[in-house]
Amino acid sequence: MTVTGWLTICLFVALLTLFALPVSRYLAAVYTGERTFVDPLFRGPEQFLYRLLRVDPEHGQDWKQYARSLIIFSLAGWLVLYLLLRTQTLWDFTGLNPMHYHSGTWDVSFNTASSFLTNTNWQYYGGETTMSYFTQMAGLTVQNFLSAGVGIVVAIALIRGIVGRSGKSLGNFWQDMVRTILWVLTPMSMVIAVVLVWQGSIQNFSHYLTADGLTGLGQQIAMGPVASQEAIKLLGTNGGGFFNANSAHPFENPTAFTNFFEMLVVLIIPAALVFTYGRMAGNRRQGYAIFATMMVMFLGAASVAYVAEAHGSPAQHAAGLNTHVIDGSSGGNLEGKEQRFGIAGSALFDTVTTVTSCGAVNSAIESYTGIGGAVPFANLSASEVIFGGVGTGLYSILLYVLLAVFLGGLMVGRTPEYLGKKIEAREIKLVSLGILITPLTALFATALATASKAGRASIDTAIAHGPQAFSETFYAYLSQANNNGSAFAGYTGYIQPNAGNLGAHGITFADLLGGFDMLFARYAPILFALAVAGSLAGKRVSPAGLGTMRTDNPTFVVLLIGVIVLIGALTFFPALLLGPIVQGLTGHLY
């Protein structure tokens, strides 16, 4: 461990909070229809889009109408993406398939389409060896925007339900989507993409380079429109890399500066939305309380990961390596990590992208030490409520808030109320289902994959034995169910002997199980969250009295952390014991 390492973590937290405040004000203005400084630029296109889409933006939707628009829009997006993946060669006329890669197989395409639609960006394919530039742009980049948009609008709808005082309307799905794309995601992505190119990311449509190499060995270098996709990949907490090596690739994450910048980009919207919630609720302290909850858990996770990785791994020590910090060397577990990021830059990036649903990686999670690798497991086990994905994090933690309010209410013996609205049996049923559906899906899929021969076919037996093999499997389905997308990357669903999809085949079982895992664990909680919003929207607000339990003080923060940890531990502890914890507690090699 080094002073600069800890400084990185502290400065990151400070800068994130600093930037999140103004962004939260902007987001609140966008979703309440107030004026913003970019209005003159976007009002025109906005009205044009409404005419094109034939929607009346002022038409309020109740939760069922809102959900129906969302589901049908998602279905259409899935179909288009699946078709694009399957017909990659049809688009060769655009000249954007310089390597003449063939179309994807049906099973891997099913997995990929489901993955990008659900903001998961789990990748059974390697970007530079399977995808044309056209597919990456018109297929994958588009869903990077839209899936992020869907997450945000659900959070906004839930906020409106909780704080709403005007009957059953949750707003208009189409208006929310259009404003999210125009006001939030596109302009921010443009700035981010240009910063990345300035630092060394590439953005071109060239044929892959063929270099001689200094010693004449020769080297082929993949090219492409990387920065534009990288920007929204991070901003929308998507995480699907243009290249197989994801954010470890120097073209995606060229410098230690971009590494820090990219982490801020990942967390900026999830963190800002929490403050936005406080603003929209008319009580900013509600936002601060949730932010504090998230920050405490985030700092805990980042610190544990950093300490564990700085210590080094049993395999390194057995091979005789000195993993202490020495002059000119970072020491620590640098296996599967890049020199320019070092230990702290890798451990923090790993924490940032697994507390959110981003799932981008700048280092190989499978190579993390047992305890360091248990951190992403724990983050996923908390159902990604520590900031979480754009929107998904906020609507997920609000479900936990309602549950905590209910439990608190039981303890003090009063009817639980949240922001003046009574929490009753119907809401608690929906909340419980919304919270439990993701862990149950993950555990069910893991059990199925572990117990079946077809599931074990995905394990890379050349490198993974014993608990590591179980960790690979468990992480795969946990990550997909949480729509995260990071991986213990030895687990595979695609066999490709040569670049370009020709002669390749998917491991159908893993592709399908993972695909359904993602779809179900994305849309079921969305429906429950919208149902809760609908149920709360129409309720009357009673004024807060002396006996009302406060939800904006430290006591509530402690209660909320307790609820999150308790639910995560109760559901996942036995499974975690079998994988990362066994690895973390033993110095034994197997």
């Binding site: 071109n204 892959y208 429109p225 410098t255 049993p314 020495i326 000119g328 280092s363 197997y590």
Partner: protein, 225 residues
């Protein structure tokens, strides 16, 4: 219902054109005008030939020639190579062949795995072996032991094309480079500080030495092949 279907279909088409075509083209235009060198991959040319990219690691090795047949030895379609002692060596790579910039992948070596231990031990041995002159004497004063090998030289990088090595790693290799190239050690050390990129913003990440750049600089000093 029908309205939603129509709106969805139009919506996907419009957003595909906007986010999938217009936006990437716009960014490409801006990048190609403002940062053309970066946007095209920071290509490095030497003697009119493309050598590689400044920020993509490559293997500094020579093909092994079979003494009987006189041909390059192959393994699984890729040439067998041996590290070239005249050059700073990049970090171990998990791709096939090493430093494959058209097919990056992680090695995914687990923390408690015997496979990992074997891989790290092999990297250490290779590193120590390269430090020995033909007569077996080490270039590094006092010789290297596993405990003296810096972690970045023994651990596989993430991308498999890590362009950098640690300063410690470069300092150790400097003794070999200086001896093989008949340069004073101070000259090599000066090059190392010249091609070391510091931490981002002064605190983020670790300093690293760009291996391709420093090797090119060495060639400019003493001639390469």
């Amino acid at each position: 219902m029908k309205r939603d279907v129509i709106t969805s279909v139009i919506g996907i088409i419009v957003f595909t054109l906007f986010c999938g075509i217009v936006y990437p083209l716009f960014i490409t235009g801006v990048s190609q005008v403002a940062f053309a060198g970066n946007a095209n991959g920071q290509k490095i040319y030497a003697n009119g030939k493309l050598v590689g990219s400044k920020i993509i690691g490559q293997e500094f090795a020579d093909p092994v020639i079979n003494k009987k047949t006189g041909k390059v030895e192959m393994s699984d379609g890729n040439p067998v190579t041996t590290p070239d002692p005249r050059y700073f060596q990049t970090r171990p790579s998990g791709t096939t062949p090493p430093d494959n910039a058209a097919g990056t992948e992680f090695a995914n070596y687990g923390p408690n795995s015997i496979v990992t231990e074997a891989a790290i031990a092999a990297n250490i041995q290779a590193y120590i072996a390269l430090d020995k002159a033909r007569n077996g004497t080490p270039y590094y004063p006092g010789g290297l032991t596993p405990g003296k090998v810096p972690v970045d030289a023994a651990d596989t990088s993430a991308s498999g094309i890590d362009p950098d090595i640690s300063v410690r790693n470069a300092d150790i290799q400097a003794y070999r480079i200086a001896a093989v190239r008949h340069l004073p050690l101070s000259t090599v050390d000066k090059l190392i500080s010249q091609y070391t990129a510091g931490r981002g913003l002064g605190f983020s990440g670790e300093p690293g030495v760009d291996v391709l750049e420093i090797n090119l600089a060495l060639n400019r000093l003493t001639g390469g092949s």
